[in-house]
């Protein structure tokens, strides 16, 4: 394998110009989008914008592209990095020179990513995330894959600046591919996804588009056609039918949407087991590879639902400390089998075990959920009657059973369980969710009790970790207090570090 010398300042691959250019182009496009739309409409209507002729506009666009290319080249020329002593150095800036130095010990995560463009020109980007500020993230846009891998190794090699390739690559030899997703399971996972979320996304997206282009739609006189349709054949059944049809179409679209999204994001998902860490790589348009380190893991969430469980499909999500929002979405592995989950939990949480005993929240939790649902129902009905008319009440046909099921299952799936040193909390409505934290990773504990809960003698316990909070809802007050005391006692008496 070719070896790279990172001790001398070096540029990224010259293909980086293309990547920088594309990144800038997208950025500019996004910023100028409203202006461009206006310009397009101007052209469409009058064949000119202001007093410029189409030729003039083409010339301006060409000049802009040239300018962007120039900037990309200059950015590329002025982007140099090297690894010296125990620091990573980066020089950037065309006019204003920036020099960034990150001590290796402060580097939290290194990601290797490859978006669609980078896949075409066969380069990868390397992201370096350091502790502290949320914005402190460095991205090197274009490196060859071997170079990126070696740089990653060099950054995690804390002893010296020179790369001891032998050592690090030996470790890689030990690594084995622990799990590889099959196309069938990938599609199944997409098909059985909780489509409710996609449904909401699609509906809000449709509404957004509708309001954005309201004037245009009105121009096209679709509304009048629709009006004609409804006036000819009136009646409740017709309205119901139309609404059902619309709902059905949106449902199909949202199912398609979740299947496509899940397949694209998780395409070729691979879990690689190293000595101490777990590596995930996945993605079709945007390939990512990331490393999970047990020390940094704060919360582990196992998710499935009734149908998926039958097909032995489980997902595992990991929350790591010191990881930015966007990346943390990628820390999930889907379509795992039962045995895989067990193995991964053992590895990531060091001998995870739990007893079968599931402690339930107080039944008051169920009653209060039912009460909230009722309030919500009444509210929806009042709004529906005011905005539409009594015909709108047919939504109750769906809403009432939905709410009843929701209360039933949310209570049924709620439980908690403390088996040293783990706290497990179950929840979910359509999904079945199991959140696990290692007790010594907690940052703070909170006991919450409102006046109604006080009267019933129940309280909730919220456990905060560095990534997420977990709530044990509505347990008996005495029990809540003893959980509270116990958790604190464990943390304070053991004196273990949280990271």
């Amino acid at each position: 394998m070719e070896e790279f010398d990172f001790s001398q300042p070096s540029r990224q691959s010259s293909k980086g110009i293309i990547v920088i250019f594309a990144v800038n182009a997208v950025k500019w496009l996004r910023a100028l989008f409203p202006a461009l739309v206006a310009l397009g409409f101007g052209l469409f209507r009058k064949n000119s914008f202001l007093t410029w002729s189409p030729w003039m506009i083409a010339l301006i666009i060409f000049a802009l592209l040239l300018l962007m290319l120039g900037i990309a080249v200059l950015k590329y020329l002025n982007f140099k990095f090297h690894v010296a002593d125990d620091d990573f150095h980066l020089d950037t800036g065309i006019i204003e020179k920036d020099k960034t130095i990150i001590p290796k010990s402060k580097i939290q995560n290194v990601y290797i990513q490859q978006n669609f463009l980078q896949q075409i020109i066969n380069v990868v980007s390397l992201k370096i995330e350091s502790a502290g500020d949320k914005k402190s993230e460095i991205e090197i846009n274009a490196l060859s894959r071997p170079m990126a891998l070696q740089l990653k190794k060099a950054l995690f090699d804390r002893k010296s600046a020179t790369i001891e390739t032998n050592d690090s690559f030996q470790e890689e030899a030990e690594a084995n591919v622990f799990f590889k997703i099959s196309i069938k399971r990938l599609f199944l996972e997409g098909l059985l996804h909780n489509h409710l979320k996609s449904f909401v996304i699609i509906v809000s997206f449709a509404f957004g588009i509708y309001y954005e282009f309201k004037s245009i739609i009105e121009d096209l006189q679709i509304n009048e056609n629709l009006d004609q349709l409804t006036t000819y054949e009136d009646g409740l059944a017709q309205v119901l039918y139309l609404n059902l049809l619309l709902g059905f179409i949106v449902l199909i679209i949202s199912i398609l949407y979740s299947v496509v999204r899940i397949v694209i994001v998780n395409f070729n998902l691979e879990v690689i087991e190293n000595n101490k860490t777990i590596e995930i790589s996945k993605g079709l348009l945007n390939k990512v590879s990331l490393t999970l380190t047990p020390d940094k893991i704060q919360n582990v969430i196992v998710k499935t639902n009734a149908l998926k469980r039958r097909l032995n499909l489980h997902s595992l999500y990991v929350k790591q400390a010191m990881t930015n929002e966007k990346q943390s979405k990628n820390f999930g592995i889907i379509a795992l089998e039962d045995v895989h989950i067990q193995h991964l939990l053992d590895k990531l949480l060091q001998n995870y075990h739990t007893s079968d005993e599931k402690r339930k929240p107080s039944t008051y939790y169920k009653r209060i959920m039912a009460f909230y649902s009722l309030v919500f129902l009444v509210l929806i009905n009042v709004i529906a009657i005011i905005v539409f008319d009594y015909n709108a009440l047919f939504v109750n046909l769906f809403l009432v059973p939905f709410m009843a099921l929701s209360v039933h299952y949310r209570y049924k799936k709620a439980y908690y369980n403390i088996t040293e040193p783990f706290l497990t909390v179950g929840s979910g409505f359509i999904d079945t969710k199991k959140e696990i934290i290692n007790i010594h990773k907690l940052q703070a504990v909170k006991l919450v009790q409102n006046i109604f809960q006080k009267r019933r003698g129940v309280a909730s316990v919220i456990v905060y970790t560095a990534s997420k909070s977990v709530t044990i809802p509505y347990v008996d007050e005495k029990e809540a207090k003893s959980i509270y005391d116990f958790l604190l006692f464990k943390v304070e008496s053991e004196g273990k570090n949280w990271m």
Partner: protein, 172 residues
Amino acid sequence: MNFTNSQIEDFTIPSLEEVHLKPISKNYFKIIVINKIVVYGIFFAILLTLNRFVDDVAFQENFWVLFGVLFIFCLIDFTTSYIAFKNRKYAIREHDVIYAKGFLTRSITTVPISRIQHIEESRSWLARQFHLSTLNIFTAGESGSDLTIKGLPKDEAKQINDFLSSKVNGRI
């Protein structure tokens, strides 16, 4: 139900119930009152000016209703803030910091000292007049797990800050 656990039966787990929570300085209520007086003062001033300069009959007729609603709202706000103020309590134990607050929903948050990232002591102009300090205790957790204890006597805040800081630094 209690947690019985063979491994730790020899010890007794320190209990939240045994902790004596200390109320924050009474002077802090004065700050709350001053702040509220300023806010409501502005509202009443607006209402009174409108009364003088707006000739609209509907407004004039309903002026006293508006005035009454605002007054009742103001009264309720003052009483609830007083009760909420009474519930603001704190305690420093050997290994953790406890803070309780709330009126309708009460909460008690505990941060182990070993999880404190850094501590900030801040004093607004008004707080300086009453010799009070605010102590911000930050953890690595979400925002909900950070503690903000307002209305501590200045000297006590300093003592707590010194104590916690020495413990936090001694850890490294």
